[in-house]
């Protein structure tokens, strides 16, 4: 079998004066049901990508049939995280990507959100504090709710909110999305 390697070899060097902040934006989070998309763009195949960056980037854009589109989610500041856990045996590795955050409060809208989306395949676009947009979920492996633990808190100083977590499993770590983000069009 002929193995194809299209990715050029490159150095992995970094500049110490580059900004590299930890955390995600509590306001720049987009979500949509996989069933709402017209077209979902995948990262390039490893046999097509020519750079390391290109191998983990979705140029996009994902498209919808109007009025469908991404809806925005705001979360409590400094509660959100995008993580990837590389797992599996050598030769058949996969990546469990997740987005977790705490929705403010335990009101009816948050509970309705969990009720509506707890069994639904989703795609999330989550912006980190460096402005990089990470995608959780894909056409073939959507992100599903894996955790929702609403709590009023016990006493002053506790968090009153709803921690949620959505996870997918992909062949690759959560890719970077650089395309235009189409938002849903609200009914007038």
């Amino acid at each position: 079998m002929d193995c194809v390697d299209t990715i050029n070899t490159e150095n992995m060097d970094y500049c110490p004066d580059q900004e590299n902040a930890a955390g995600i934006s509590p306001v720049e989070i987009y979500a949509a049901r996989v069933s709402d998309f017209l077209a979902i763009i995948e990262p390039p195949k490893l046999s097509v990508a020519t750079t390391l960056e290109g191998a983990a980037t979705i140029v996009g854009p994902h498209t919808f049939t109007p009025p469908k589109g991404f809806f925005k989610i705001s979360v409590l500041p400094e509660t959100g995280i995008v993580e990837t856990a590389n797992e599996g045996e050598k030769g058949s590795k996969s990546n469990r990507n997740s987005f977790g955050a705490t929705l403010p409060g335990v009101g009816a809208r948050n509970k309705g959100f969990v009720r509506k989306y707890q069994n639904v395949g989703m795609i999330f676009l989550v912006t980190d504090l460096n402005g990089i947009i990470h995608q959780i979920g894909s056409k073939v492996s959507p992100a599903y709710l894996s955790e929702a633990t609403p709590s009023t808190g016990v006493k002053g100083g506790d968090v009153n909110g709803m921690p949620i977590k959505f996870e997918d499993v992909q062949a690759y770590p959560a890719p970077v999305y650089t395309g235009t983000i189409t938002e849903f069009t609200p009914a007038v």
Partner: protein, 99 residues
Amino acid sequence: MFTVIQGIYYIPDLGKRIDTRTELSNEQLLELYEYKLFPFITITEKAVPFLKKQKLTDKRIASLILQAKTVEEVNLLLEVKSTKAIKTIAETKIIALES
């Protein structure tokens, strides 16, 4: 002049949230048209005089031709400006679109 698919878009690179259901100026539409990651816009024949007035450089016209989605769009851009280099790029693009 410009035809845009109606909707609300967030363009991360430009840091702009654009609602194309509202009226946008021709300058705003030109900015969107030139942005290669915004494929929801195209031009009609009426755009040609406006684009001519903008005195776009060869490089900008060439970029627009390279990201054109139809042969008709390439031909309209050639009406805006068609130096020898631009014609060569347009010919290559038309071959790619027709293949």
